[in-house]
């Protein structure tokens, strides 16, 4: 029996390896060596983000590729996140631009619907190790049955809390709240205020921008609701679950007074959890880097847990990712895919994700050294099993902004939960009908 499995798997491996060799040479680590370009070998790669660690990681990855594949010549450029859309929109309008470019998954459906990016399905299907990619990420990056984006940097949102403050408030730091009600109760115990308002937020929730939706959706989903209908053609959040989730959100500000609408004490350029102004937040693993950077003394006091469960014990975390898309106007698509495979190789992903604290999109890498080396970071990786992304539809950014506008109105006390969701439902349906 065991022998059989061994033989079969060796056979499969052999088949996979020969098929891989048929395309390009590839070593055991998935690294591409000595590949022959079909075109002139010149490729351009645009990376989102230009902080020094991102630059050094991608320069190393591209440097490796150029070194191992002398007939290729890949140039990499770094675009700041805030200006990525402007730059890409302009470049696409003139049909110039990179062969591969990086963006958030939220942008992929828009590009796909305009035919500006290549359908990656045939390429992806031909990958010998395609099953190693987390299936929910590939699904989240698929638009109308077409793979639009290959995940590279994954982020997961978890409950981040301060163990020392838990102890002070008489809570058990090893057993964080498991239900939303318990979370609110704990937050009340953790909150400190003075005459001007909250000085230490028990559970700080976002009050502005896309973050509000990122915080609202997991609550909604754990309570059994969702943002859009199954066919993604109409809004579904104006439901009893949707109202309950929003009411919970609003109560944290109005009723429990554990979240602050106005800035908490300290330097506003640093997130509340990293400057010691909040005892609990629900945020991504990038917060760990911020804490380490600005308040290293707090790092030992941090605990990570999945957000509380809602109806029937369902837990949902917000997971999102950035990855690479292929320009539909690229002249060397096969070569661009060769480069893509290099970026997606475990060794490249270790450089990219390990250097900047991102979760890798491969199953086989979830126990990589750079993850298990830090239990806090590992907790984010383990939480990926609850991960769900935003809907991937062409009008997503507008749908999200429209929803956020109503949510923020409610937060500012302009409308109640029911009215806010009713207004948002009408506006979102209008956007979806376009």
């Amino acid at each position: 029996m065991k022998k059989n499995i061994l033989v079969v798997s060796i056979l499969i491996c052999l088949i996979l390896m020969t098929s891989a060799f048929a395309v390009t040479a590839q070593d055991s680590d998935g690294e591409i060596v000595g590949a022959k370009p079909t075109g002139d070998g010149k490729l351009t790669l645009w990376v989102a983000g230009n902080t020094p660690d991102i630059q050094s990681a991608f320069n190393e990855v591209v440097g490796n590729f150029n070194k191992n594949n002398p007939e290729f010549d890949v140039a990499v450029e770094f675009i700041p996140w805030g200006d990525l859309s402007t730059k890409l929109t302009t470049a696409f309008s003139a049909q110039v631009g990179p062969d591969l470019f990086m963006h958030g998954v939220a942008a992929s459906a828009g590009f796909m619907s305009k035919g500006q990016i290549e359908d990656l399905t045939p390429y992806f299907e031909s990958l010998p190790d395609k099953d190693d990619f987390l299936a929910n990420l590939i699904a989240a990056g698929t638009v109308e049955g077409k793979v639009a984006i290959m995940p590279v940097q994954v982020t997961n949102y978890m409950l981040i809390y301060r163990k020392d403050l838990y102890r002070e408030a008489g809570l058990d730091p090893e057993n964080p709240p498991a239900t939303w009600e318990a979370l609110a109760e704990a937050a009340v115990k953790l909150t400190q205020s003075d005459d001007l308002g909250i000085t230490l937020a028990g559970l700080q929730m976002p009050v502005e921008g896309a973050d509000v939706e990122m915080a609202y959706l997991p609550i909604l989903r754990s309570m059994g609701g969702d943002l859009l209908s199954e066919d993604q053609k109409t809004a579904a959040f104006n439901s009893p679950e949707g109202i309950a989730a929003l009411q919970y959100y609003l109560d944290l500000f109005e009723k429990h007074k554990v979240s602050s609408l106005t800035p908490l004490p300290g330097d506003a350029t640093i997130p509340p959890i990293a400057r010691g102004a909040a005892a609990q937040v629900i945020s991504g693993q990038f917060s760990l880097a911020q804490i380490k950077d600005t308040s290293p003394e707090l790092y030992d006091q941090i605990g990570i847990a999945p957000p509380p469960a809602g109806k029937d014990g369902k837990i949902s975390t917000m997971s999102s990712f950035s990855g690479f898309m292929m320009n539909a106007y690229s002249k060397n698509k096969d070569d661009a895919w060769t480069l893509m495979r290099h970026i997606l190789s475990p060794s490249s992903l270790t450089i990219i994700d390990g250097g900047s604290l991102f979760l890798p999109p491969r199953k086989s890498m979830q126990s990589a050294e750079f993850i298990t080396g830090d239990p806090l970071f590992e907790a984010f990786a383990l939480g990926l099993e609850y991960g769900e992304g935003n809907p991937n539809i062409p009008t997503w950014v507008e749908v999200r902004n429209t929803l956020v506008e109503s949510l923020v109105d409610a937060l500012n006390g302009k409308t109640g939960a029911e009215d806010a969701l009713k207004t948002a439902e009408e506006a979102v349906n209008k956007v979806l009908a376009q």
Partner: protein, 305 residues
């Protein structure tokens, strides 16, 4: 040469001299005209054409007046239009008055004046992002200097940028701070162009400081002031950077002016056609004001000279 001709055939010369002068006129403006057609007019006309399509950077289909009709059915547009006008009404007069006062101050011949000039121009040179965070900390409800001042004056502290009713005014203050040094320099250039003899003459006539300001400075500054006024009208309605950096149109849409709305539609939702149509609504507003200035106010300015 002209003089020789004019002694022999006076009548024909006046005509040809005028034509010659006109030709010189075209000569002087020709390079500018060429530039204008390629880099200003052509893009404007293209945008105008796009405003009748559903251009999304990939495809463009003719949709007739649909974008313009959509504009008038959106409440978002109305509130953005109102905010744009409010923004302009607050910013333009404040900017003109403060920059004139500053220009008069740094026009004084006193020791160290160039240091003051430099400091007053520094906001123009300070990057918007940094200005944004410094102002955000000044407006901070808890530790900010603005609320500290309010308490000193025994006024209730405010939430400033976080209060939907005050955010727009707060952005006006930041824009004023950023732009006042620029117009100060324009006024200063105007003030410096006024011949000193006129002041000396006025002083000899026994004019007071106020009188020489009223009867020498102001009339000769009219042309400069007119320029600043027209440019302020045009640019106030296009203030984008401060809003983008400080509030991103928030809180709750309180600082979403027309130009911010245009940016959102164009670059976040890539609805270029609709954004172009919105831009022409803004264009009508601004061009109307500019045209009124050029045709009515300008005549008044030039007559008074």
């Amino acid at each position: 040469m002209i003089r020789i001709e004019s002694t022999t055939r006076p009548k024909k010369i006046t005509v040809s001299r005028r034509t010659r002068k006109a030709l010189w006129g075209y000569f002087f403006i020709f390079p500018a005209l060429l530039y204008f057609f390629v880099w200003v007019l052509l893009p404007v006309l293209t945008s105008f054409g796009l405003s009748f399509t559903n251009y999304n950077t990939a495809t463009a289909d003719w949709v007739g007046l649909k974008n313009y009709i959509d504009i008038f059915t959106q409440t978002k547009v109305y509130s953005a239009l109102l905010k744009t006008i409010q923004f302009g009404l607050e910013l333009i007069p404040a900017n003109m008055i403060f920059s004139l006062i500053l220009a008069l101050l740094v026009d004084q011949k006193i020791r160290g004046v160039s240091i003051f000039r430099t400091v007053y121009y520094l906001p123009v040179l300070t990057s918007l992002v940094i200005a944004g965070i410094v102002w955000a900390s000044l407006f901070d409800p808890r530790t900010g200097a603005v609320n500290w001042l309010m308490r000193l004056l025994r006024l209730p502290p405010q939430q400033w940028l976080y209060n939907p009713d005050l955010a727009l005014h707060s952005v006006v203050v930041v824009r004023l701070w950023k732009g006042v040094g620029y117009n100060m320099m324009v006024f200063l250039a105007g003030l410096q162009s006024i011949p000193k003899e006129l002041y000396e003459a006025a002083q000899l006539d026994g004019a007071s400081a106020w009188q020489s300001f009223r009867f020498v400075t102001l009339p000769l500054l009219k042309s400069t002031a007119f320029y600043i006024f027209v440019m302020a009208c045009i640019s106030s309605f296009q203030v984008f950077g401060e809003i983008y950096v400080m509030t991103r149109g928030g809180p709750a849409g309180a600082t979403r002016t027309l130009i911010y709305l245009i940016y959102e539609e164009a670059f976040q939702y890539t609805k270029m056609g609709y954004a172009s149509a919105l831009a022409f609504v803004l264009f009508l507003l601004v061009a109307g004001i500019a045209l009124f200035n050029l045709l009515v106010v300008n005549r008044f300015v030039e007559d008074g000279r």
